[in-house]
Symmetry: C2
Subunit: 384 residues, 2 copies
Amino acid sequence: MSETNRPVPSVGMVGGGQLARMTHQAAIPLGVGFRVLANTPTDSAALVCADVQLGDDRALPDLLTFAKSCDVLTFDHEHVPEPVLRELERAGAVLRPGRDALRYAQDKLLMRVRAEELGAPCPRWRAVTTVEHVADFAAGTGWPVVLKAARGGYDGKGVWVVDDEAGAAVVVERATGAGVPLLVEEKVAFSRELAVQVARSPYGQVAVYPVVETVQRDGICHEVIAPAPGLDEEKATHAQELAIELAHALGVVGMLAVELFETERGVVVNELAMRPHNSGHWTIEGARTSQFEQHLRAVLDLPLGSPRTVGRYTVMANLLGGGDPDVFGRYIHVMARDPELKVHLYGKEVRPGRKIGHVTVVGDDHVDLLERARHAAAYLKGEA
Amino acid sequence: MSETNRPVPSVGMVGGGQLARMTHQAAIPLGVGFRVLANTPTDSAALVCADVQLGDDRALPDLLTFAKSCDVLTFDHEHVPEPVLRELERAGAVLRPGRDALRYAQDKLLMRVRAEELGAPCPRWRAVTTVEHVADFAAGTGWPVVLKAARGGYDGKGVWVVDDEAGAAVVVERATGAGVPLLVEEKVAFSRELAVQVARSPYGQVAVYPVVETVQRDGICHEVIAPAPGLDEEKATHAQELAIELAHALGVVGMLAVELFETERGVVVNELAMRPHNSGHWTIEGARTSQFEQHLRAVLDLPLGSPRTVGRYTVMANLLGGGDPDVFGRYIHVMARDPELKVHLYGKEVRPGRKIGHVTVVGDDHVDLLERARHAAAYLKGEA
């Protein structure tokens, strides 16, 4: 794409999921080139983006070809193996975030070691290879404990809450069998979950978004309230500073999401992601600069946009597939009921429990907004 | 594109300009199918949209092929000839707006006749074929007068302000030579120009946006301030009611833009457009539902979204090409200077005076917003 008589920079996003779809949407007004490496022509982003390379988004040959057509490579997910990233960098590809930063989003064990070095508040944890290690650890923290795959997982899962040695034994055996390294963490007694997002450019500029409340169920993000209602200002500032420190220390380029537990003693770091994140979908309508636009500006080393909020509160609820695939039939009723609500569909085939879209609503009263977003999500799932 | 297991409706937009580009952007979250019929692969919309048919966007064979792949056809411009529209309807294509409505946007003479029948305030006017007709008319209104091509035009123009008989003679001769029918209108003594947009669905639902002030220079829209500052509430309501009445009476489906003159005696209708319009680009950031989303909802007969404003004022300024094509080089400085400002680039080659994008800024003080938008537009043109 050429805006002007000289070429404009072009970003290639590895992976064709909904994050790439929404990043494409943000690339249109910016007028920058935007390409996607998608596995299939029906990937969420491939359905809408003009410039798609089909291929294996984790395999070196396809990534090398893709990299040649882009000034900068960035990622829809964390699944490109580290050795592949190394070869890409060796071949001269500009990865943003780079491999040195990405490994902390790919490996939870490395992330815990580094976060503690940096003085970030973390749950108690240790690497484990046997059920005896887990039992030893639980003797100090009490059961239940949380087992996590450091990288990858099995059966599509990477986090297991186990109540006792017998439960731990099942996970350790299956993970070991699948070659998945594990760590154990204390189950943090939190009052709620929070998240904070920050963008960082290669130049070192940062832009931090307000701390949000995230509501998870069965390990899936269901709702986000921005900003987190009633959050103590000091705690909010501390969380934002923490995210900025992590972004600088880990050398993140692009968006960083820090998922946190709010506890009586303060916030505790749960997970990191170095890409646009579900906890930031609210920014499309709720902030002057969406996380998708901000990610593009950051990876292209453009000046960052204002992360200022547009309304007092913004609430987002994920749309999960239900038993009846006719989402579009129900969509019309949701639109008619609430003309202020924004529905985002990702073009994905409906399967029970699968994220197929989200809804967003902006206003003054977060209780009312949450009720409306929840109703729409339930109705679209076929439950209301 | 399929969101669900049953097909979702698909809109085809005829023409690949920036209006189609921004409508594509709005189609992504809605999850509806969106195709473009573009003349070349470097058309503004063809650069970003996944689903493009290349062809002649005014020729029946290409339009018939295009229509087969879409549930609904809509338009980026008014240039599809009326006989072609008739054949498309005869072949079963669903045109929204339909041919009966579109002719009032295509033919200024028909529009004036119909608008007067409906009691809409219009400038004095008459159809003219000779310079004597113009002189007779001007004897009643005084010079200068405005000559308009009822359809089409010549030298890329369709409106001429002429000061005397000699000036009129040049236009009449050239228009007659080119087979262009003319009308003459009084030059309205207006205090400023206004515009109002309304969406109408086949079901008959309407959603009206606030009346905006438009600043034109050399016949090109330069700036829009939404809502029009200091506009008398009664006048604003009257303009909105007028737009709604016109939309119903003309059977418009989709967006209708009514361009108005504000005079001492009230508002006077200048022009109509039945598509997303430059006077509504501010709605992308400034309203809950952008004109592009609203147009899609209307042509698909979906419930309309809220046209409510997001901030107190939104100001838009068009970006026109200047002498130096390196817009992107200057873009970075504009972003750095004003992180709240949104730049939209259309992917068009820079030529002096050509619309290549726009900027938008939302806030409380319209004087400050206008200054910022103007500065950005001038800087991007290479003038500041």
